[in-house]
């Protein structure tokens, strides 16, 4: 019995210990290193120690010039602001397209729902990089979508709102960037919303209609509030990765759509300024830490509710 208990205990330690150690070493430790480098002085290729003991004097030297630079230079501030704006616009578009989509999916015939679900998930399995690349073809001159938009005269509208620089030129503009991000992240909005809407108790709507509510009123007063958890989960799943997005702005964005992921990339790869790149990364994490906390809270609640 004792032996059995002991084997249980060691087995348990190994099961918890291996993934725990992995995450500590390869996830938490790297972040601490980034935080440290962001306040370090760089000498050639080495970093000065943060704490030094010389001549009986204990010195702690933190260099905040990176952060100071971010706060003072409008390039960084504007880029952060732009990244958040594009991410917010993408989130709203995904919600506008995705909510009705998930709603109609959840209200479709029960037998058809697994097939619909699979059709939403299937693009996940083909390369995300290649699907973003495809939009380059669709939106550049002579592409299918470009032809339709120009044919309908919608490019005048986009030009008037400042989303494209010249009528007929759709690529490398805020428009192409937000369209590409909406396309990429739409399934991330649809899936949590569908999971939420599919398990709603439809008798609540019957009760509302019995009490005299129109379908429209019932939708806004019952369905939407009940799907709050799905809306929040989906929005966070779209918003957070969009803020730091790198590949989509590189392929579909242009000179006017510089985003913070690219700025960090350039600090690191072009300028070789590790402390600066680290500072930009730390500020980026601070920017998304509130949405991240909200997401984790709802995720935990949803997991509790499953049981």
């Amino acid at each position: 019995m004792l032996q059995r208990l002991r084997s249980l205990a060691t087995g348990r330690t190994a099961v918890i210990g291996v993934p725990y150690l992995w995450l500590l070493v390869f996830f938490l430790l790297p972040f601490l290193i980034v935080a440290r480098i962001s306040v370090s002085e760089m000498e050639n290729v080495a970093f000065k120690d943060l704490v030094s003991f010389k001549d009986g004097l204990l010195q702690l030297s933190l260099k905040f010039s990176g952060y100071q630079f971010i706060a003072e230079d409008s390039l960084y501030f504007d880029t952060y602001l732009r990244s958040v704006q594009y991410a917010a616009a993408t989130t709203l578009l995904c919600l506008g397209i995705g909510y009705p989509f998930a709603y109609f999916m959840a209200r479709a015939k029960l037998t058809a729902q697994p097939a619909l679900l699979m059709l939403v998930m299937l693009p996940f399995w083909t390369s995300f990089l290649l699907r973003v690349y495809a939009w380059k073809g669709l939106l550049s001159e002579g592409g299918w979508v470009a032809d339709v938009i120009v044919g309908l005269g919608l490019d005048q509208l986009l030009f008037a709102t400042g989303l494209i620089e010249a009528p007929g030129r759709l690529m490398n503009t805020p428009f192409s960037l937000v369209l590409g991000m909406t396309y990429t992240y739409l399934p991330f909005m649809i899936l949590p919303l569908y999971a939420n809407l599919a398990k709603m108790d439809l008798r609540l709507l019957e009760a509302a209609s019995d009490l005299g509510a129109t379908a429209w009123v019932a939708f806004w007063k019952i369905t939407v509030p009940l799907s709050k958890a799905g809306i929040i989960a989906g929005s966070m799943l779209v918003f957070i990765p969009c803020v730091g997005e790198f590949v989509i702005p590189e392929l579909l964005g242009g000179p006017r759509t510089l985003m913070i992921g690219r700025v960090m990339w350039d600090e690191f790869f072009s300028n070789n300024d590790w402390p600066m790149a680290s500072s930009v990364a730390v500020v980026m994490v601070l920017l998304i830490i509130v949405p991240l906390a909200i997401f984790n809270k709802y995720q935990a609640e949803a997991q509790e509710a499953r049981r």
Binding site: V15, L116, K136, G137, I288
Partner: protein, 279 residues
């Protein structure tokens, strides 16, 4: 036409338009891979020349081989780590630092990849300076992909573990099975399917990743997505369309096969359940 009919057709129309939006790029990619014109977007008739050109495209082929190796190793490692992490989260309700653990497991799912890539690279460089190991290349890319893959694998396997009936494991314990026997004989067979989906998901994730690979690759370790990305940055390139078509075909076959196998297993189980109930 009454309101209900209009409603139904509006719903169908919205779903249809949504699916057109989701699948249009894939259709365009495939179609233009057969375009006999060096100028993209101008259709000049059918050709297979981009596919034959691919066969002698050494850069792309070397990238593909490296990507497949890394994806295979990533999928295997992620499933092992993900199973352990999912088991920890579902079975062990109290241990020191559980909140930190569950936070860390989910974080790579939403953390911007540039941040994960930068921090991992800076750590690996610091380690390399201290002990001369590891060299940047296949292994460092593998570590990065596994960090991401583990998070996805955990979510998939955790969902299945939560739905299991704990009484089955308790019954095995009561009948004298040791913990490892319970795991191998009772729990594992019930979560095999979710482990398989996690394997496939992390395999495709790794095969597709640009940002982590860009940070963690070294000289001579250029994965296929890095090759595609550098070409796509420069403009439209028919060789990219040809690669895309091959991937789409492989995925389509894989998904059809998987759904056939799952449907067959499901039918088998229903039959067995019916037989058991009769007995």
């Amino acid at each position: 036409m009454n309101a209900a009919t209009i409603n139904r057709w509006f719903g169908r129309g919205w779903l249809g338009a949504g699916f057109v939006f989701l699948y249009l790029p894939i259709v365009a990619l495939v179609l233009y891979s057969f375009n006999d014109s060096p100028i993209p977007n101008a259709w000049r008739g059918f050709t297979l020349k981009w596919y034959t050109a691919l066969a002698s495209d050494n850069e792309m082929l070397a990238g593909l081989w490296l990507s497949l190796k890394i994806a295979f190793l990533t999928a295997c490692g992620s499933v092992v780590l993900g199973t352990l992490a999912a088991f920890t989260l579902v079975k062990y309700k109290r241990f020191a630092g559980r909140t930190l653990f569950s936070g860390m497991v989910n974080a790579p799912l939403v953390m911007p990849e540039v941040v994960v890539g930068l921090s991992l690279l800076l750590m690996l460089v610091s380690v390399q300076r201290a002990i001369g190991f590891p060299e940047r290349g296949q292994m460092t890319i593998w570590i990065g992909h596994m960090l991401l893959g583990m998070a996805y694998a955990t979510v998939v396997i955790q969902a299945r573990l939560q739905d299991l009936n704990p009484q089955l494991e308790e019954a095995a314990m009561d009948l004298g099975a040791r913990p490892h026997q319970v795991f191998y004989l009772v729990t594992l067979p019930m979560i095999t399917q979710s482990m398989l989906s996690a394997w496939l998901l992390t395999f495709t994730l790794s095969l597709d990743d640009v940002v982590l690979s860009a940070f963690l690759s070294g000289p001579g370790a250029t994965t296929m997505p890095l090759v595609i990305f550098s070409r796509a940055r420069l403009g439209l390139n028919p060789s990219v369309n040809a690669v895309a078509t091959i991937i789409v075909v492989i995925v389509a076959i894989g998904v059809l096969m998987a759904s056939y196998l799952i449907a067959r297993a499901e039918r088998q189980r229903t039959l067995e359940m019916a037989a058991a109930n009769r007995a």
